[in-house]
């Protein structure tokens, strides 16, 4: 686990303070320059540059062939991306909101995820589906959901979620270079918050490696995406205990060793996700901790999650885990 990694032999790149959105645009621009097989497309990603601006300037710079608008059809966006990938391009398809991805579910689950396996490795599907996801923007249930678990449950897909601008760039570049389909989920709540230093030019963060966002000894918090800053806020508020925060960054394949090492060290584990509780990704983490750390545990594994309701509009602030709920979760691992 390292915070960021740059390719060996590279000259030390300069840094620039960016938002996560700017870092994502920078990643796309970098890879479009590096590799002319990379094409970027989706609804409104061309001239407009995306509804959040993630593809701003790419159409102008690379032209209509490399960055273009599509008809309003997620099924078509992902279906054509599969065909492009099979033929030899590196498509990066944007789904405007993760909540709208369901018409493409068949293409993702039945086609992209299975192409390599079902053809015995003859055909592959190296493509990225980028999509803003998650709550905290008062978007109601069709602009806020965290449905990462559906994709994590599908062998053949990788699932990546950054929580910092530098990681967003490095992980997106790795995802585009990956030989397998990657669902790259962008926590839109922190698209423009929490600016950070981002290396210019070449910057790669390996998939499958978690990041210790904060080192500690008493409790491990497992989290990802927009929950990372929430957990950091909670850790700041804890007095007298040392909290370790593990930012998973890649949900599939998970850096299981990092999870196990941390929980064995601290003996306590809180899992934080904004998705609904039942069968969420946190359930998988809890099971891994139960299977591999049981003799090290000094308290129950605690999940802090969204509720098993559709994502609400007016009561969003009660639905989303906040630092208070994370604190209560930490407390439960000591008092049970």
């Amino acid at each position: 686990m390292t915070a960021t990694e740059t390719k060996a032999g590279d000259k030390r790149p300069g840094q620039k303070v960016m938002t996560m959105l700017e870092a994502i645009t920078d990643a796309l621009r970098t890879e479009m320059q590096n590799d002319d097989r990379v094409v970027v497309f989706g609804e409104d990603v061309g001239k407009k540059g995306g509804v959040f601006g993630a593809t701003m300037g790419l159409h102008e710079q690379f032209g209509e062939q490399r960055c273009f608008d599509t008809p309003l059809s997620e099924c078509g966006i992902v279906g054509t991306a599969v065909g492009m990938a099979v033929y030899g391009l590196r498509p990066v398809a944007e789904i405007q909101f993760l909540d709208f991805i369901y018409p493409a579910f068949d293409q993702i689950v039945s086609e992209a995820a299975k192409m390599r396996y079902r053809s015995g490795g003859e055909y592959t599907c190296p493509m990225v589906i980028r999509s803003p996801y998650g709550g905290g923007i008062r978007g109601g249930h069709y602009h806020s959901q965290s449905s990462e678990a559906y994709f994590c449950h599908t062998p053949g897909l990788k699932v990546v979620i950054p929580s910092t601008p530098a990681d967003a760039k490095g992980l997106l570049i790795s995802s585009i270079r990956d030989e397998d389909p990657v669902v790259f989920l962008e926590p839109k709540r922190i698209y423009r918050h929490g600016k950070g230093d981002v290396p210019l030019g070449e910057h790669v963060v390996a998939l499958g490696k978690a990041r210790i966002a904060r080192a500690g000894n008493d409790v491990t918090i497992l989290c990802y995406g927009a929950m990372v800053p929430v957990c950091e806020q909670a850790a700041d508020a804890v007095a007298g205990r040392s909290i370790e925060i593990l930012d998973l960054r890649t949900l599939v394949p998970l850096d299981e060793q990092a999870v196990v090492d941390s929980v064995r060290k601290t003996g306590r584990c809180v899992i934080v996700q904004e998705a609904p509780k039942t069968c969420g990704y946190g359930a998988e983490l809890a099971a891994i901790v139960a299977e591999k750390c049981i003799e090290y545990l000094e308290g129950p594994v605690v999940r802090v999650t969204g509720f098993d309701t559709p994502f609400p509009y007016a009561l969003e602030h009660l639905y989303m885990p906040d630092s208070k709920r994370v604190l209560a979760g930490i407390d439960k691992t000591f008092h049970w």
Binding site: V39, Q65, R66, T70, P71, S73, C75, G76, V78, G79, T80, A81, V82, G83, M84, A85, V86, Y87, G88, L89, P91, P103, D106, Q107, S110, E111, K114, M115, R116, Y117, R118, S119, G120, G121, E122, Y123, T124, P155, G156, K158, E179, D180, G208, V252, P253, L254, E256, Q257
Partner: protein
């Protein structure tokens, strides 16, 4: 729209001015492919009935439709097939052994036993892996066509679905995107009358399937799918058009599913025998045979040679394929990703250890239930 383009009359004569006049050797080779495809199909079903393979999907009655269509392509062109175009594999030189190994899912299967029988993938033939969900390949063909345009290749893409497939999401998405981006794609809808037990009239209220092309800004052509020359002629025009950068075409090839949907289905339960008998009179192989006979390219001796050769080749392929070993257990975990993830490595190890203890995997599933 009800006009059906036909070339070979029922007496075997080609309509005036429409005969593509393919060389005699090519015509005889096409006949050989038609017959071999039919015989391979009969053998596949027989092997399923004998319990030697788990499942089979026949293409009987549709041989001329898909062979005529694919014959219009160059070898470098790509196919995104559905599951009733096996003749294309023979046309593109795929070894019969490899086909039978796919049915068996053994170590000779290029797909490594990952799919049910007849879901072929042959990269050597630019024949992209078939999936069971209906219509998904239509969008893939469009995407590949868009990719070829972006790269400046002159590859043409042909994709197939049935009449049922025209109701799928991807029929709309695939054709809509192809129209917008002028993708070099030929969409061949093999209207065989039935989607398992649902007749075409219940798929759509459109007066035809070809007419749907109008909604996507591309030409739609309706052709007699049991007339190899007619399908070839229409598809050749569509392929040339695509290669010239003029965009996609929808071809409705009107044919008939002479067999049941699959080895698990019994069409007699929902289909009028009279309909079957009527279509049997329009058998595409007999039709092409009559054409060859008219051209003096067919006689009983040629027929005997074609049939005997095909049967012998199929029998030998089955014998060799059945002698191949099964897939090894470790391959279960390969090709999920390019590299084995730590999780898959751990699961593979767990299976290895359980297998060493013995008894694991004794309960083999059977299909059909």
């Amino acid at each position: 729209m009800s006009d059906l383009l036909t070339i070979i009359e029922h007496d075997g004569k080609a309509q005036k001015g429409k005969d593509p006049n393919l060389p005699a050797s090519e015509l005889q080779q096409l006949y050989r492919l038609l017959v071999t495809t039919r015989l391979l199909d009969e053998r596949g079903l027989a092997m399923q009935r004998q319990g030697r393979i788990g499942f089979y999907l026949q293409s009987t009655g549709q041989e001329a439709s898909h062979l005529g269509a694919a014959y219009a392509l160059k070898a470098s062109d790509w196919l995104f097939p559905a599951y009733r175009q096996p003749g294309i594999l023979l046309l593109r030189g795929v070894d019969l052994d490899q086909i039978v190994c796919e049915w068996l899912g053994n170590s000779g299967d290029t797909s490594k036993g990952r799919q049910m029988p007849v879901h072929y993938s042959f990269r050597q033939a630019n024949f992209v892996s078939i999936s069971s969900p209906i219509g998904t390949q239509l969008s893939h063909a469009t995407g590949a066509g868009m990719a070829a345009k972006i790269r400046g290749d002159d590859t043409v893409f042909m994709t197939f679905c049935g009449d049922g497939g025209t109701s799928s999401n991807d029929f709309h998405s695939g054709l809509n995107f192809a129209g917008v981006y002028k993708a070099p794609v030929v969409f061949v809808v093999e209207n065989n009358g039935w989607a398992i037990s649902v007749p075409c009239a219940q798929q759509t209220a459109s007066e035809s399937l070809a007419i749907k092309a109008q909604a996507y800004g591309m030409p739609g052509v309706r052709v007699d799918g049991n007339d190899l020359l007619a399908v070839y002629r229409v598809c050749r025009q569509a392929v040339d058009r695509a290669r010239a950068g003029e965009g996609p075409t929808l071809v409705e090839s009107v044919t008939y599913r002479m067999a049941s949907h699959s080895s698990s289905d019994d069409a007699a339960r929902y289909r009028d025998a009279k309909q079957y008998e009527a279509w049997k009179q329009k058998d595409p192989i007999a039709r092409f045979q009559a054409y060859l006979k008219h051209k003096k390219l067919w006689d009983p001796a040629f027929e005997a040679e074609v049939v005997d050769t095909a049967k012998a080749r199929i029998a030998a392929a089955v014998e060799r394929a059945e002698a191949r070993p099964a897939m090894t257990p470790d391959t279960l975990f390969d090709d999920v990703y390019m590299n084995l993830t730590p999780q898959l490595a751990e699961q593979r190890q767990q299976l290895r250890e359980l297998m060493q203890q013995g008894g694991v995997g004794a309960d083999v599933g059977h299909f059909p239930l």
